[in-house]
Every structure is written in structure tokens, then in C-alpha cells.
């Protein structure tokens, strides 16, 4: 896929024919220097933005053909998001934040129990009734993980989930994501500039000048260099 911003002389190519595939259940890292297009790529996969050219297939669905409402529903049911700054809604409690994607989906059946179970899994069952702005950064990121998983999505997308955390908390969050991926057999796509903290992963995609390469040291990059 290709993504350009601006027009004429001000046109910037954020993604340049980036092509790759990810298998179900893989734990994938997207790496690259600042401004290389990692977050843009994640936004395209997460259907938060549309490519200027090209297509994004998820579970065999060409998402570029979906209407806006269907994209919203797709995001809600098939995708889970974990952001760098957790992005919890501070007007809600920890539990209400985790419940929110399920309430948006309108499937409230076992929502309360599922949310409580997830919060237990991430070790925050004692904090569930606290306002989201009353917990620490590390706890907030764990809540964000629980929120990202509540609808049992096919793919979990994380944009620098440890970028705002100290090394000890980062380690905890990474271990948590890896264990959840294994336990729930979910695909995790994580944008990071610290791949070494993640240990063994299924795949690394490197973004350089808007182009995607599989692996950390793409031969093509060396040739170009």
C-alpha cells in the first residue's frame, strides 16, 4: 500500500508500496527509525486511515471496500488497539474502560464477568473501580491491554506500548502481551523502536523510507545504502 500526504510540491510519501503478509496467531514487530512510517502503517492496518493506493486484507476481507460504519464495526469486533499513552477515558473507571468496546458492540451478555476476568489476568482486579486517571502509567497500559482484548479480536495492534514506561514495567507489559497472545492465539502487531526488549518473535517487519522489509537487516536496505 501507498500513502501520500499533501499535494504538489508539498506531497510526502509516508508509505511507498509497502507489501507484506502476517499469518494468524503470529507475534509481529514493526520496527524502524522515527518518521519512517511505522505508525502510518499501523493506522492503515488498524483501518484508522485509508491508503492512497493499495489494499488491506484482513481475514480475507478487502477492508478498503468497506463503508465507514462497517469499518467502525470491523475495528470494534476484529481489532484491538493498545496505544503508547494508554489513552484510557479518564471520565470512566478502570472496569468501565475495559467494558467500553463490548458496550459499543452492543453485546453486553457476559461483558461484566469477561472484563473482570481480564483485569484479574492483568493483575488489576483490586483497581477496577478506580477512576482511570487515578492509576499509574504501567497500570493504565495493562488496562489498555485488557480493553484491547475484551472483544476477543483477531488482531491486536499496539503502537509503542512500552514507549512511555520504565524498563521494569515495560518488561511486565511485554510479557503480558506475549502470554496473552499465546493463551488466546491472537495475532499481535506491535510498533516499537526497542525490538530487543521483545526477545523471540514470529516476524519483524522493518520500515525504511516508507517501504516494508521482512527481517531486521533487509538486504535491500544494504544495497540501497
Amino acid at each position: 500500500m501507498t500513502k501520500t500526504y499533501g499535494t504538489g510540491e508539498n506531497q510526502v510519501k509516508a508509505l511507498d508500496n509497502a507489501t507484506f503478509s502476517i499469518e494468524k496467531g503470529q507475534f509481529v514487530l514493526i520496527v524502524g527509525s522515527s518518521g519512517s512510517g511505522k505508525s502510518t502503517l499501523l493506522n492503515m492496518i488498524g483501518l484508522l486511515d485509508r491508503p492512497t493506493k493499495g489494499k488491506v486484507f484482513i481475514d480475507g476481507t478487502d477492508t478498503t471496500k468497506l463503508s465507514e460504519n462497517k469499518i467502525s464495526a470491523f475495528r470494534n469486533k476484529k481489532l484491538g488497539f493498545i496505544f503508547q499513552f494508554s489513552n484510557l477515558l479518564t471520565d470512566l473507571t478502570v472496569l468501565e474502560n475495559v467494558l467500553l468496546p463490548r458496550q459499543i458492540a452492543g453485546t453486553n451478555g457476559s461483558a461484566q464477568k469477561d472484563a473482570q476476568d481480564l483485569l484479574k489476568t492483568v493483575g488489576l482486579e483490586s483497581q477496577m473501580n478506580k477512576r482511570a486517571n487515578k492509576i499509574s502509567g504501567g497500570q493504565a497500559q495493562r488496562v489498555a491491554i485488557a480493553r484491547g482484548l475484551i472483544n476477543n479480536p483477531s488482531i491486536v495492534l499496539a503502537d509503542e506500548p512500552t514507549g512511555n514506561l520504565d524498563s521494569v514495567t515495560s518488561g511486565m507489559v511485554i510479557q503480558l502481551m506475549k502470554s496473552m497472545a499465546k493463551k488466546l492465539n491472537q495475532t499481535f502487531v506491535i510498533v516499537t523502536h526497542e525490538p530487543e526488549h521483545f526477545g523471540d518473535v514470529d516476524k519483524i517487519i522493518t520500515i525504511k523510507d516508507g517501504r516494508a522489509f521482512e527481517g531486521e537487516q533487509p538486504a535491500e536496505m544494504e544495497v540501497i545504502a
Partner: protein
């Protein structure tokens, strides 16, 4: 609770300054309308009340061509058989020239309105007798009651003073008689007889040469809402007389028409005030939307549709409208209660006739509630236009 309503409530209640500002805007809009209503409608109703109490009753009967020549007894008895009628009394009007010597100085007043009353029937059909501030009401045929302004113009006439009154009779002859001042009348608001002289109707009939005749008959009802019914019944009962019977709305129309349009204009100003509060809500809600840009982006990214965001902010408008309408109505009712209980008046003028117009109170509350929702539409629409990626970049 529905999650969108809960979010709307939390977002609003966590921004107390904005909530208070928006609620105050609605409250003030409603309060302005209530205050306007209490003052101007109260003044209007007070004037109607005084015209009815002092001059026209609930039904005013006159003769289309001339004076009423049917006997007082016959007409009063006819009316008083009807259960809704509190009393019926004849009145006779004329004008007079008054001479009075005060402190050795002769004072003359011309063209002073004179009203003849039947003192025994009048106390049942009007409250003129209650306006006697000094002395007594008409007790005998040789006494008069002076309006406070007439007394002042006569060199500060007092109870017990003597004066000469000249009236031109129906043949053009001057009729002069001497009277004692039995009382001084004073009433706030200008609808009483402060500029008139009141005397016994039979004395005035004698002087005018109109024995048994009356200018009008005023009828006071226990239940003024039956005025039209009683009027129609009366006209049907006397088809061959040239009677003209009018309810207070009809007989006072000329005096009240200008006032009525004034009230309509004041009400318009009140509703413009309410519109201003709607603009205040738009501004405050735009601030709320701007303050929640990041949250809107997050919600959109986890699957909320534009419709969901729209509903959240419309719920906020509904909450603002509901609280504002509640507080505003309560404040308005409080003011109305205060005005009613204290018989509010301005500069010692006539006390306002305060009433609870529930239809208008509910209409005002519903209008402001609806306006708050309408005012929230644009900010809500703007909120839906935020793109998730761009919204989440906002810090």
C-alpha cells in the same frame, strides 16, 4: 445505564465549570421569562382586576341608545337569582363644578367626574368602599366621597368639610346643592375614583332630573369564568330592551389593547433572551467537544460510530436542558411565589395580580429544554467530524 448516557453525564459532570455555565444560561433564560410574566402579566391582570372591581364588574350592562330606565330592584333581583352572581348594582355618571371655601379662600374645580352609587348594593358588587382611606363610604344623601386628587385640588379638603356642587340637569338648568365630605378615597394604580366624586345615586338622579335611571349596571360574579354565560342569559331574557352587555374583556378592551401588545413585545424579548442562552450552550459545548477531542478519537478507534459520538453530545444537551429547565422553572416559581405572597408592587403602585399560568410554565420549560437540544446539535455534529487518527494526536 446506557453507556453513551453515562459517558455524556460523566464528561459533563467532570467539567463542573462548563456544566454550571450552561445550566445558568438556560436558567437565566427561563427566569427572564418568568420575571417578565410576573411583572407585566401581573400588571395587566391587576388593571383588569381593578377595572372589574371598581368600574365595570365582570359584566357591564348599558343601554345602547340612552340611560337604563328599568328599575334597580327589577334588574338587581333578576341578576341575583343566578347562583354565579355575587351582586349587581346601578351606577350613574355625570360631571360637576365644585366650589369650596378653604381657609377663607374660594376654590373652584370644573368638569369633575361624579359617580352615583347605591351604597347598599354597591358594597356587594364592587370594592370601591374599600378605597375609602379616611372617613366613611356614602352614608346618606347629603354626603359625598372625594377622590384623593379632587380633595388635593380643592385645597386639601378634609372629612367634615362642606362644599357646593353644581350639575347641569337634563333640561339645561343648573342644580346646586351643598354636601358634607364623608370620606376621601385613595387607590393605587389609577383605576379607582381618585379623580372623581362619589355620591348617593338617588341624589345624583334628583340633580340630573333622571329619576329611576342609570348609566350602567355592574354585575359581579362569584365565578368570573361564567361571565359569558350569564351575559348571554341576560340578553336572551331581555330581547326587547336595548341592553348592551359586555364581559370585562369586552368592556375594557379599549383600555387594555395597547397593554396587550406591550406584553406580547416583552414576551418576545424574553424569548430572544432564551435564544441567547442557546448560543451560550453552543459555545460551552464547543469547548467541551474541543476538550474531549482525544477521547473522541479513542472511542472512534475502538469502534464507536459517528452516530454514537453524536448521541453522546446530544445527551449532554439534554442533560443541560433538563437541569437548566428544572432549576430555571424552580427559580421562576420561587420568584412568582414571592411576588404573590408579598403582593408585590412598584413605587407603592397597584399590587400585581400574580397567578401561576401552568400552561405557560410548562411551555417555557419545554421550549428551553428543546432549545438546549437544538443548541447541542452543531457541537455534536462537529464532534462526529473528527478523524480518529487526527483526534488522537491532540494532547
Amino acid at each position: 445505564m446506557e453507556y453513551r448516557l453515562r459517558l455524556a453525564k460523566r464528561m459533563l459532570f467532570n467539567k463542573k465549570g462548563s456544566l454550571i455555565g450552561a445550566v445558568l444560561a438556560v436558567t437565566i433564560g427561563i427566569l427572564v421569562i418568568h420575571v417578565n410574566f410576573v411583572i407585566f402579566q401581573g400588571l395587566f391582570d391587576a388593571i383588569v382586576r381593578d377595572i372589574s372591581n371598581y368600574r365595570n364588574g365582570d359584566i357591564l350592562v348599558t343601554d345602547e341608545a340612552d340611560y337604563i330606565d328599568k328599575s334597580d330592584l327589577a334588574l338587581a333581583n333578576w341578576f341575583e337569582r343566578i347562583p354565579f352572581v355575587q351582586g349587581a348594582t346601578p351606577r350613574l355618571s355625570s360631571s360637576a363644578e365644585i366650589n369650596m371655601t378653604k381657609n377663607g379662600k374660594l376654590i373652584e374645580e370644573t368638569r369633575v367626574p361624579v359617580v352615583g352609587v347605591d351604597p347598599y348594593r354597591d358594597v356587594k358588587a364592587s370594592t370601591v368602599h374599600e378605597t375609602v382611606a379616611d372617613g366613611t363610604y356614602v352614608l346618606n344623601r347629603n354626603s359625598v366621597i372625594l377622590g384623593t386628587n379632587v380633595a388635593r385640588d380643592l385645597g386639601d379638603a378634609q372629612v367634615g368639610d362642606s362644599l357646593k356642587l353644581l350639575i347641569v340637569d337634563r333640561t339645561g338648568e343648573d342644580q346646586i346643592r351643598r354636601f358634607n365630605v364623608a370620606g376621601i378615597m385613595k387607590s393605587p394604580g389609577g383605576q379607582g375614583f381618585d379623580y372623581s366624586v362619589v355620591m348617593h345615586i338617588d341624589t345624583l338622579r334628583d340633580m340630573m332630573g333622571r329619576s329611576g335611571e342609570s348609566s350602567s349596571f355592574i354585575v359581579k360574579l362569584n365565578d368570573p369564568s361564567k361571565a359569558f354565560e350569564v351575559k348571554e342569559f341576560f340578553l336572551t331574557a331581555f330581547p326587547n330592551d336595548d341592553f348592551l352587555a359586555e364581559t370585562i374583556e369586552e368592556s375594557a378592551e379599549e383600555q387594555l389593547a395597547g397593554f396587550r401588545s406591550g406584553i406580547a413585545m416583552i414576551n418576545m424579548i424574553g424569548y430572544f433572551g432564551m435564544m441567547s442562552s442557546a448560543f451560550a450552550i453552543v459555545t460551552i459545548q464547543m469547548m467541551l467537544v474541543n476538550g474531549k477531542t482525544r477521547e473522541i478519537g479513542v472511542m472512534r478507534s475502538i469502534g464507536a460510530k459517528r452516530k454514537d459520538i453524536l448521541i453522546i453530545f446530544i445527551f449532554q444537551g439534554m442533560i443541560i436542558g433538563a437541569i437548566g429547565a428544572g432549576v430555571g422553572t424552580a427559580a421562576g416559581l420561587g420568584y412568582t411565589f414571592y411576588a404573590k405572597e408579598t403582593k408585590m408592587s412598584f413605587n407603592n403602585s397597584l399590587p400585581l395580580e400574580v397567578s401561576y399560568n401552568w400552561e405557560k410554565i410548562i411551555q417555557t420549560a419545554l421550549t428551553s429544554f428543546s432549545l438546549a437540544i437544538i443548541a447541542s446539535l452543531y457541537p455534536s455534529y462537529r464532534a462526529t467530524k473528527l478523524l480518529p487518527v487526527e483526534a488522537m494526536r491532540t494532547v
